[in-house]
Symmetry: none
Subunit: 201 residues, 2 copies
């Protein structure tokens, strides 16, 4: 269940030492000893915090000889927050207010789809802007069957009908929780798809 993920993410950020680590890493990668020095704690403490940050996908690690350098996983930091929101405001838009803005939103989405896909339905490239990217991902994922389980090669093949770089896009599917992965099997997130980017805004 995704509740655990959200809790885990916030736990990771619910400690001053860990926040300070992230702030330090925002200026560039650092190794454990240096972090320990700067924060006046022992290396063991850094190891401890690093594992929590790693489990929440907030940092990356790179080994060079004996030394492990930590760096921010900007991507997750920027996007995990919206997962909380999406969890809290899960329900679809209940009130029947279908006014102009909604129509414009629909138009905007169509424009984005037309803009980022070719006539024969191939993806040109992933949008940089979060909201547009979500629209694009949602468009692709909407072609999958709800409830059906897919193997990784199947998912790869599916994505390749849109774009060569299946690895990146597959990662985006997971990261934005359009899909779940459980022991090598992929499945669509049962939540309403449209609610995703509409509720974010």
């Amino acid at each position: 269940m995704q509740l655990d993920k959200v809790v885990q993410y916030h736990k990771a950020l619910a400690d001053p030492t860990r926040i300070k680590i992230l702030i330090l890493l925002a200026d560039g990668e650092l190794n454990g000893q240096v972090l320990a020095e700067k924060l006046s704690v022992t290396p063991a403490t850094i190891t401890h915090h690093a594992s929590k940050l790693r489990e929440a996908s907030l940092i990356n690690e790179r080994r060079d000889k004996n030394t492990i350098y930590f760096s921010l996983n900007d991507y997750f930091i920027k996007n995990s927050a919206s997962a909380t929101e999406a969890l809290i405001y899960r329900r679809t838009n209940t009130k029947g207010e279908t006014e102009m803005l909604d129509e414009q939103q629909l138009k905007a989405r169509d424009a984005v789809i037309r803009n980022f896909f070719t006539e024969d339905g191939r993806l040109k490239h992933l949008p940089g802007q979060l909201k547009k990217k979500l629209m694009v991902l949602e468009h692709m994922v909407s072609k999958l069957d709800k409830g059906k389980k897919y193997t990784e090669p199947e998912i790869n093949a599916f994505i390749k009908t849109f774009h060569e770089d299946f690895a990146t896009i597959r990662r985006e599917f997971i990261m934005h929780q359009f899909m779940f992965r459980e022991n090598e099997i992929y499945e669509l997130n049962p939540a309403e798809m449209w609610a995703r980017w509409e509720n974010l805004s």
Copy 2:
């Protein structure tokens, strides 16, 4: 220091029971007993969690006779996350991606304003949709002087130039933190107004 605030906010969300409370409140206000019942905990536990959520400004409370009803503080839930980001990445927006959607957002806002106000600037009614409501509230509040202090009758009179139901709208101002109230004196929230709903999207 703002680090504490950020840590406090994430601590508030770093517990499954509290997340569940927020999810329940997303469907509308509930009192302590009902929450306790739905979550299979004692009322004392709810009191405990409510105080944490309150300290992080994630919920509002309303008293009716013996009963206290809790509701979401949507505004804080949506915006506190970006405070974390701002703390970690002190620098401003680097990417120059100014594409179509932003322009459409501006157009959309204008459309909402035109839609909910008459030609002579009166408010027809408050939108039900959060985003639109924020636009409408911001539009009104932008006519007030930043830094100036207002008495309650002054605020009421001001609101009545837009709409008869000053009580509701005044409450909305406070609830969505466009204004502060401190011993019967009202004042504009010094935060940038535009940042408010733009950051939501």
